[in-house]
Subunit: 256 residues, 4 copies
């Protein structure tokens, strides 16, 4: 449990190339900034992958050795191949952790795992965001006090189209009058999922210490503990059963 | 809330045509048996639809007026068109109720809404199933005592690859030594989902009063209360914000 | 299920006698205002009870016929007799609904049922409260839009010392910068509990239509469906067991 | 997080003195057997305490340094002083973990934290218990396969009078026909609670490796991560508020 584990930070890496403001904030890409503070945190080996690599950098080999996948995407959700989404989903259900950031709420992988619209209200303006810690004993909230603030961020507002989280960790307050469930977890299959709201590309959010701490905590919390492939086995009885007069006649229809 | 509501019972209707034993138990099809006892229960207008109808009988018009969809499928999950699955999913997220029966655990619609494998152990033999009522005050358990038994049924065993249910209502005991979470609910979007395990096609399960009662209860519980289309609106501030020096420069990238 | 049911509105009824401002807002007591709009809503027979009656008006007879108890208390939680608290708790666990309002978060009965501190942050000032509806399909949110506002209210802030709610319906935004889980449900035993935050005695909150609608919805949602007394029975086997060589030697120690 | 932590195993230690059969199985007391395998597991400093010590061995000093308290009681729940129960409860709400075993379902501390009856069905006979693992990726299920068996145990059956668990890990199958939610977790305040069913005093259950592994896992999972005292602070605004014309007139009534 304490051995070094493997993290892959996936970035869409498009805004950084198109918008000089974003490039100024994240010169090497948002994924490299995120990978950077995870490496500094220690205890993990961190790689990156981006949309424009072959198979988006998420080959079966890469995923097989990944314990936690961090996901940031926004303008190009539709360019992510369904085949890769299916591959990532399979790995999460087998045990790989997934940390989804900000606009990743609309990533195919997030919607496929949660099954809902994942829609929300939004506004890109001058809101301040204050994240209230409603689960102080949760490992993801470690080192966070009662709340912390992000001086300027995009607003996300309720209702947020998600299934009820297993655990609700942060609720955000926005200057403009909205609230949002901004830190939440789910277990799907054998994998743990953490959604964390902050991180619009035009604000320097991932340079902020508190935000980094939460992501580090989230990655540690989500790390894979098992790797269990999917099966749906025909299973013999463990206790004596009455005789089955029709045994020979029963078709063996598998569950497919 | 007390007005008459509309139920569509969807049946795969293949086993009944291929297996004389199934045809003997359900001469007009399983869907007609289920529709029959729902009609007798009253308070609802019940239609049926089957796989081999055009669009599987689930046109946009049919779904729009359906408050609860009941689903039984098994050998032909793969023949259900993805387009129809997407249409049904959209309606559940808007508010339509969904009652999924037995082998429907592997229906595309169930897996798409829950996001997990929905796999399980299984055995078609001579097991008795005893369903224990673990949520006696739940409307779906109304009229059910501490437990009821089905003399012979296919066994489904844990682990069951589902997200933690919002509510767990029944746990089954099987002669052969297994247990199963056999009655469970989830809310997804604005729709309520009830999964109920019993009902393998080669046993007369849907003729049993207790099973019928639970399905009637489940349909009543799941009936649509709202019909809310999906939106992800750009939302103006409700409280004064600081001025936005970059307002004119902000690209209006929609959430898509 | 649609028959008329019985509601008892319990009020502490002390502030109204001591503070002229409160008396001005609620001349006949807060409990009478609440009982009044419940009566108008229809479908229920509404009684009231107050702290200074014998047994606080909550005799075994009163509770036995009560389907939903509404609770408002604040300055005199300590004056509620433990014996009455135990009696109310027993009835909730048997199936009676309980709607706890505002400062009732610190009522003995609420803390006894939830098991936690139920502490929070608070400030009596000029905050506006905006309640966001995060569960639009829930019966308690019926008729409420995306949000509604209370022009002036006491602030309650997170962290709120409650167990994770079964269902989270409202999250409040306050002018002063806080958020709060202000509408939440739990099932305890066979009874349903709804906590609703608004209603400080110095503001005319219970005269506001939206607040009344939520309380009416909450009372309807919480109404008792069962009345199941507590037992912990020694239970004979339902299936054949191996012989028990020590049967005669086994002490029959009850679970007490 | 990886530093050594402190565990206190609390035993009622009465059956062992009264019943020779129990004394034969657990010559030094059940608590010493449990403490023994926890010590062998490593990473923790394990102490014991029993009912007949002053303050039941659970002084404020002992509790303050305890990270996880393990609890086994049965015939003498009523002899545990309410003052000690209140002290333990306070510590759990502040962050101390609590592992409750078997008949501890009726311990005052368990009922006080959960708020429900915690009643169940029971039978002391020749049942075999098979515990199915329904949450294979949970740390408490680490090293447990799909299921494990206890050759003979007391039966506990549903309905079990608990609040819906945060996490359900094990469901038991009993020869006599019952099922039971036999491994479940809750967070209450800042403390984690794990209930684990097996361990009737007349069976050698705590000598079985699988049972020991689950308890070791449970203790590790429940260890205190925080120590947060209860407060209910009057909290100044973090954002500008309108002026309060009645500020001087507002009584400062604390939340008590």
């Amino acid at each position: 449990m304490q051995t070094i584990f493997h993290v892959t930070v996936w970035g869409e890496f498009r805004h950084e190339k198109k918008n000089p403001k974003v490039a100024e904030i994240y010169p090497r890409g948002m994924h490299e900034t995120i990978a950077g503070f995870l490496r500094e945190a220690g205890g993990m080996i961190v790689s990156t992958a981006v949309l424009d690599e072959p198979e988006h950098g998420l080959t079966a080999e890469v995923l097989e050795k990944t314990d936690v996948l961090v996901w940031w995407g926004h303008m190009a959700h539709g360019d992510v191949a369904d085949e890769v989404v299916a591959r990532v989903k399979k790995r999460v259900l087998e045990g790989m952790g997934l940390v989804v950031l900000h606009s990743g709420h609309y990533a195919k992988i997030f919607k496929a795992l949660l099954g809902t619209t994942c829609s929300l209200k939004w506004r890109e303006s001058t809101d301040k965001e204050r994240l209230w810690n409603v689960f102080p004993s949760h490992p993801i909230a470690e080192g966070v006090g009662d709340y912390f603030e992000i001086p300027a961020e995009e607003m996300y507002g309720e209702p947020f189209g998600i299934p009820t989280p297993d655990e609700l960790i942060f609720i955000s307050w926005f200057t403009g009058g909205e609230v949002f469930r901004s830190g939440a977890t789910w277990t799907r299959g054998h994998g743990r999922i953490f959604y964390f709201r902050p991180g619009h590309e035009t604000y320097p959010t991932y340079h902020q210490k508190e935000v980094q701490q939460v992501i580090i905590n989230g990655v540690r919390w989500a790390r894979a503990r098992v790797n269990i492939p999917d099966t749906c086995p025909n299973s013999p009885a463990l206790e004596p059963l009455p005789e089955d007069p029709e045994a020979s006649a029963r078709p063996t229809i598998g569950h497919t």
